[in-house]
Symmetry: C2
Subunit: 185 residues, 2 copies
Amino acid sequence: MAKIAGESGRGLPAKGQFKGNVGRVMMKQEHFMKEAIRQAKKAYALDEVPIGCVIVLDDKIIARGYNRRNTDKTALAHAEIAAIKKACRAVGDWRLEGCTMYVTLEPCQMCAGAIVQSRLTEVVIGCMNPKAGCAGSILNLLEMDRFNHQVQVTRGVLEEECSVMLSQFFKDLREKKKEQKKKME
Amino acid sequence: MAKIAGESGRGLPAKGQFKGNVGRVMMKQEHFMKEAIRQAKKAYALDEVPIGCVIVLDDKIIARGYNRRNTDKTALAHAEIAAIKKACRAVGDWRLEGCTMYVTLEPCQMCAGAIVQSRLTEVVIGCMNPKAGCAGSILNLLEMDRFNHQVQVTRGVLEEECSVMLSQFFKDLREKKKEQKKKME
């Protein structure tokens, strides 16, 4: 297992808090998923669908991203694409081998494609997207044998928190639309 | 059929040169594919795999792109992604409805995904990529019923020219590598 970074602040908690390797991996995954959720909340604050992601190398966050599709007026402004762009800058290469992405929602076909093209080693997903996800729902682009790269995938880390955040966003949106409609009448 | 733009310079040749609608559509497709090939040659000049693309709205090129993956050190620097980014800026929206992309090589999973996410209406492809293409070879992400958008696809426009350009590039590359090896001995 790779070296565990920083023991204080937003680094990982001290060793020994969770016993055994499985507990340690789970703790690490939840730690970085919380950072991805922090990113998603930035999207929420902009009235964007709350999706966030971080990319981690050697237990350090090297890139962050959140959905800004409406704000930036481009479908390329998905959280994963923004983070991949920054991660490439951080490592100085188009290959992100050794990197792990933590993302609050199952990636779409474009982002799953970008993950494979960038040769990320691992992706950790919060909740699934049964209607459009391409990491196991509609398709599984991350683990396709016919591509020249396959990604290791973990699903369901802080699933409920990621899922509730999205449901709440769409509930808010419906209520806002109702209010606007009332004002128009 | 949409209005045909400019009759001189790099616009479309005068009406009447090709008789009938089929001839006119073919002429238009070849015209814009030539512009995509011009972009691919810019990649070639940088020792990048020669792939180029243009995006057309109302018979006018609104965005151009060519592969710069090694130069820019990111897998996001594929021709199609660069062109989509510029096209979104040109139309001021993340939706590229009504736009047609002309691309010299069948898009990969990331670019095909970006095309669907950006809701491009049509894609015209030069040559296919049997080992990695996702517009009919490995997968067909552009015409999948299960996504919320399907793209109209035309394949094989100036196919030989696009294909020969790629073969020549890889032949050059092999020769360069041989020469380097000789120098090292």
